[in-house]
Amino acid sequence: MQTMSKVWLFCVLLFISSYAIANANLTIEITRGSDQALPIGIVPFSGGDNMPEDVAQIIQDNLERSGFFAPLERNSMFDKPSQADEVEFGTWRSLDVRYLVVGSAQQTNSGYQIQFELMDISGQRRMIGETVTVSANDLRGAAHYISDQIFEEITDIRGAFSTQIAYVTAQGLGDNMQFGLYVADADGRNSQQVLTSDQPIMSPAWSPDGRKLAYVSFETERPAIYIQDVSTGQRIQATSFEGINGAPTWSPDGRRIAMSLSKDGQPEIYILDINNRSVERITQNSSIDTEPAWAPDGRTLLFTSDRSGGPQIYEYSLGGGEAKRVTFTGNYNARARYSPDGEQIFLIHRSSRGYQVARQDRDGGRLVVISETTRDESPSVAPNGTMVIFATQQGSNGVLSAVSADGRSSFRLPAAQGDVRDPAWSPFLN
């Protein structure tokens, strides 16, 4: 780590631009609801009227977006309990609600205190409850935390509402373009600018601890890979070899980055040791090898190769041996990512309709298209494996979209202006 800290000493703060680009928040549009969603009521929190954020509404939006829940419309509620002992189970049963969230919010000297309780209507019992204290500027964080608790209690799956997404924005054409790298909450809000440039920015990738981003920037008029601390802005140039420096992806232990370099001719997969800056070549052939993804157990890499003629997904075992072809459906499969349990892969598949997000068992089997859009790119899996965020087109604009891993529900996150692309879902941050 000594080398590393020395390296960081030389870091420069670049591109912390004095002009902030106008609001780059993304909004949410639900495009498809699941027919298997659980009916749930989230009652507006008492005391919430005076709050700068509607906590109950944020929770409702989160749960609906997940595809697991179908929240009851507020105007269908003729009773507004705020704690467990005020809940009339019969009232809610008649509205076909299976779960109910009640709560209250109040201001304190240093921020807010939010109290919530989750009720099982059919079982007529209180499931969980908690009082959450947050600083004045973290009301949304409290809402995401409560959403995580509710989601996990009911589904037994860890909630991913308190995570973030990184993404790239672009405006303009040809030689006159502006690019931005942003980080926002998983619901598209609270966007923060990480970098702006008049040269392309690509392929952001989160470190496993969620503190740093590796990405490709052309700011020196050719591609180089940088590693930047998201909160401090400190960064290093990790690689700047001749040719392509692309597609960075972190090892699960955070010590290495797999990438694609064309310094020896055509793009090949290499592994960079971040501490000593050495690179080890992994693939050896005359075809394109790019878009590596590290398995959650750290033992294998997926990558795209056109060694068979067109792009297909291969898996390389770091223990040695030949790379094994994984995809066989169709003539274009690229940019694969593992599910968090490593059992499945998500990738871009060219179907008869276009370029779509697809899912396949890691060991083979049937490839299933899960998106409905046809100009899709850059799938990135939520850390709990329930959703895949990806880039696609809406009209002539690049937008982010997300689809549940089972393909049943989806939503879109358009930006106010310009194109949004290259999303990367963060790991769990808490």
Binding site: L173, I244, G265, S287, T290, I348, S378, R421
Partner: protein
């Protein structure tokens, strides 16, 4: 498209030979409107790329540019105005209709050993971004090999792929896509 390096070089060399050797076959719409401007033996470009039938050996006269030196040097002192060539979908083959453009840059670079060019390779937006970076590099690399075979020093050339990151035209459809699949000569 998947070729081993040797096969690829041979294919490039062959396509050059073919371009040169098939001057009277087929003919694209604008095939004969250029090519003889400088009076050298250099190709009157037409179709024939990839047909594999060419045997024309009269080309490859990379040392024979003296024939047209007079007018040629005048023209070769300026960077050629046309600096972009376009490609077919999923292809890195230099189309015959752009051979005169590439040859003009060849002459300029050979006449001006101090000149440097950065070949920018681009793709259309379809497909994944990093894979397109590789395809853009392949396109620019094909132009670089062509120039090198024509006698341009490797030290005068470098390649940067922009993949699909810097489209020249916006929108979906072949009109925009065809303008975005390109290699640009940047001096």
């Amino acid at each position: 498209m998947q070729l081993k390096p040797l096969a690829r070089s041979l294919a490039v060399a062959l396509s050059i030979v073919v371009i040169a050797g098939c001057s009277s076959t087929g003919g694209t719409q604008d095939g004969d409107s250029y090519g003889s401007q400088d009076g050298s033996s250099m190709g009157t470009s037409t179709s024939g790329v990839g047909t594999g039938t060419g045997t024309g050996g009269q080309y490859g006269s990379t040392s024979g540019s003296g024939a047209g030196a007079g007018a040629g040097q005048q023209a070769d002192s300026r960077i050629p105005e046309v600096r972009t060539i376009y490609f077919d979908f999923d292809s890195d083959t230099i189309k015959s209709e752009y051979e005169s453009v590439v040859m003009a840059h060849t002459r300029y670079l050979r006449a001006n050993p101090g000149a440097r060019v950065v070949l920018h390779g681009h793709t259309d937006e379809r497909g994944t971004r990093e894979y397109n970076m590789a395809l853009g590099e392949r396109r620019a690399g094909a132009v670089q090999r062509f120039l090198n075979i024509q006698g341009v020093s490797p030290s005068q050339m470098s390649v940067v792929s922009y993949g699909e990151e810097r489209p020249a035209a916006s929108g979906q459809g072949e009109t925009a896509y065809s303008q975005n699949r390109r290699v640009v000569f940047n001096y």
